[in-house]
Symmetry: C2
Subunit: 323 residues, 2 copies
């Protein structure tokens, strides 16, 4: 029996470079992380250092996969990365392939996280799925017919950036009322601080010792679990905002599954139950069609590196071409 | 040299059944239409009658393709058709295949229209394109990697049904502020009547001889072409509504081309120019990426039947599998 094929997955973040040695079953064999050294080419040297550290003693390494927050084209050129200053049209894939001598894949980190979920996570075996990460922003990965949606240039699946309210809060991208601005993990914190400042969230204010500015989503979760009406109202309002975006995406993609990632899903059904309820109340033609399940993602914080490694292995194997 | 392969395309509408004999180049050889006879099975008999009329004298007919407004699943079962009462879970494909003895394809009419555009129309040869029809509602067809996006069940590409304004007008589907309710051809007429009723559209009121109720999009076009400021303001506002939805879809799909169909594109750049301007002002990362062209569709009112026939021919040929 042959040994499982092995790849290094790398997650390029604003503060750190996280690498993991991952086998084709998605198991993490070893991890290595370094602080982010700043712009290219220092970043390249740091990534190559992480890869070399991880491959030491490995008889055969088959591929390198990289996930990065930002706009990554089909050749693995990072056009723009919001958290890494100076990352403009950098040929990351070509450069790492040259430095390592290995087949290399670079993709958006939300896409690699989604790929991890369909290969070995919550959406295992599902051909049409959407994976949404509710965090600082909204990350989206769309899988159609088992392939990662990339679009004509690689910039597809920016699912946080459609308007749901023309007078909504400003998005990180500068537009008003984008879904990301109203339904990200950060948006929940903002909604809670606004409610507290307006005198509508006394239980949150109490938990934050009267300091509006320190209130975040964790206070909402804790107060809601304790049954505080003000927090439960915020949970419902926030879940509605999430659901309205999911409705649009389901009408557009008709997936069989929507997996939600992010700290909020650690709260079990606290957020998921009202998301499902609002979703079913607003999806097009609910009485005439199967509707997608909404379930928690399973891969956690390593989804990005594991998915990057699996994507690289599958593409080196001539499968999993981007769509 | 062999003769071109030939199919019958059929468009099932609320008032008529339109059929056309179409060859593999998209040329319409012959047309036949009958008044819609009402629900199934009368509708089946009418469709079979149209097909038989068209195939008379044709040495070899290769396939039948049907487009219908409504929710059509991957087996060609029409789950719901808004304009054809009683059309509930009708196995249209299987029934027509049995009656005609021919390979038969049934799809949503916006999908077949989009397929016509990428095969022989404005998006010829483009692999990632969106075709939007601005009419009574908004019809959308999404082509990814040359294939029609259908989703897990066949109900994908309902692109008119995502919320862009939580307090916007009610959509035909019952939801508030969907893109369709704010950017369809009908929405332009509604906006014009509202402006006239509010005393903000004197030039339209004059053209309609003082009757607010008869004002529609044609009055807006005519007055705008004549340079009336009130009409030009309406064109700009409407074009903004269209653009905001296109921005969302472009961020989600990253197409290389967006083709717009519907009566409005007969007005040349009157609507298209402000749509393009607002689109470029709001798309994500415009400075870091190629942005899709927005062009008029070319296939006109026969897009649906021609696309249905081409899709049927290509699928009978084992190509063009749905995505």
């Amino acid at each position: 029996m042959s040994s499982p094929r092995i790849a290094v997955g790398v997650d390029i973040g604003g503060t750190k470079v996280l690498g993991a040695l991952v086998d084709e079953t998605g198991a993490v064999l070893r991890e290595h992380r370094v602080l982010s050294p700043g712009p290219w080419p220092d970043m390249r040297d740091a990534i190559v250092g992480v890869i070399n550290e991880l491959r030491t003693g490995v008889p055969e390494l088959h591929a390198v996969g990289v996930g990065a927050a930002g706009m990554v084209d089909l050749d693995g050129v990072i056009h723009y990365a919001p958290n890494v200053p100076g990352f403009r049209r950098v040929p990351v894939r070509a450069s790492l392939a040259e430095a390592t001598g290995l087949p290399t894949t670079v993709d958006n980190d939300a896409n690699t996280a989604a790929y991890a979920e369909i290969r070995v996570g919550a959406a295992r075996g599902v051909r049409d799925a959407i994976v949404i990460t509710l965090g600082t922003g909204i990350g989206g990965g769309v899988i159609l017919g088992g392939r990662v949606l990339r679009g004509a240039n690689g910039f597809a699946a920016e699912v946080g950036h459609f308007q749901i309210d023309p007078v909504g809060p400003m998005c990180a991208c500068g537009e008003l009322g984008h879904w990301e601005a109203m339904a990200s993990g950060n948006a929940l914190g903002r909604m809670a601080r606004e409610a507290a400042a307006a005198g509508e969230a006394p239980s949150l204010l109490e938990r934050a010792h009267g300091k509006v500015d320190v209130i975040d989503g964790h206070h909402v979760s804790a107060a809601a679990h304790a049954g505080a009406a003000d927090a439960l109202a915020l949970v419902d309002h926030y879940a509605f905002n999430v659901a309205i975006g999911l409705v649009g995406l389901a009408n557009i993609f008709d997936p069989s599954l929507i997996a939600i990632a992010g700290g909020l899903v650690n709260d079990g059904d606290l957020f998921l139950e009202p998301m499902r309820r609002h979703f079913l109340g607003h999806i097009e033609g609910a009485q005439y069609r199967p509707t997608p399940e909404i379930i928690p993602a399973e891969m956690g914080e390593r989804a990005g590196v594991i998915g990057a490694a699996l994507l690289a292995l599958d593409r080196a194997n001539d499968a999993a071409a981007p769509l």
